[in-house]
Symmetry: C2
């Protein structure tokens, strides 16, 4: 059996249980003599563990996915948050899940979101998520995450495949 999850537009409200949406929202600060709007402190990276720091990396995704898309695993980083910001305004797919307990995700609560390309995201520390899914390739993302040693990745194989699909509008009978 396959679980089906409908892709939904990414909004801060929908994503709040999983982390932050990094986008121009809310009231900006006016800086640089009014030439620049600063959307301030949209996300604060989290890092734990000794001799660890926050670093900037680039992920270049080499393979584009198409929808519907079947996934079979999720991962989490117990020692730090992880942020992804598209570097070419490209849309991308975010798959996350709420926890069932402290060891595994709740497979009945998988959610899938579509960034509009002007939105980045932060997975809060320990949030179950699927590795980067892009719709274009090659595709570059700035990544802000923990740089350090020690165990920082748990992997969970789903008990059944999960199909991420575009929501189909239901025809309205007249």
């Amino acid at each position: 059996m396959t679980l089906t999850v409908a892709l939904q537009p990414l909004t801060a409200a929908c994503f709040a249980a999983f982390g932050d949406v990094i986008e121009c929202a809310g009231q900006p600060l006016s800086i640089n003599q009014g030439q620049t709007e600063r959307y301030h402190a949209l996300s604060l990276p989290q890092v734990a563990g000794e001799a660890a720091s926050i670093g900037l990396s680039i992920f270049r995704n080499l393979q584009a996915s198409t929808l519907p898309l079947q996934i079979d695993m999720l991962e989490r980083h117990p020692q730090g948050s992880q942020s992804f910001i598209p570097m070419d305004g490209q849309a991308f797919v975010i798959v996350v899940a709420l926890p069932l307990d402290d060891r595994q995700p709740d497979e009945a609560q998988v959610c899938a979101f579509l960034s509009n390309g002007q939105q980045g995201i932060t997975y809060a520390r320990g949030v179950w998520h699927h590795p980067l899914i892009t719709l274009e390739a090659p595709s570059n993302f700035l990544v802000v995450d923990r740089i350090g040693t020690g165990h920082n990745c748990d992997i969970h194989q789903l008990s059944q495949p999960c199909l991420i699909r575009v929501e189909t509008a239901v025809p309205v009978a007249n």
Copy 2:
């Protein structure tokens, strides 16, 4: 009198005295079953001071500059680095200066660089630089810098204007 500075292509080697170039360079790590290249730890943000952290913000620049461009000030952030990453692959101009002493920049050592749009930069803590200069507007940048209270911006008015111009190729006599 006006000091003239030629815009040069941004490279990690040229920019090393000022901070990091955030770009796909060097040997990446292969992750996500070979689907993604990770250009790892390209820049490590710096933060000092109590109750301060690193945060992600977006700067939306509302005014595009044209070249040649005259500048009359530089600033620095004594308590933290500051990173700028273009969110739409857009080119931008970076103006920096080496220090003359611990209080002011060396106006004879102003440098100007042009990002190719796939390159972000980090100003190391305390590096003198000009506020964001873009060639397109509106134009969004991810900014990674210190979130906290306390004094973190020094401003220096240049003793003479500085003109940033595109290098003109010198005709070769045949």
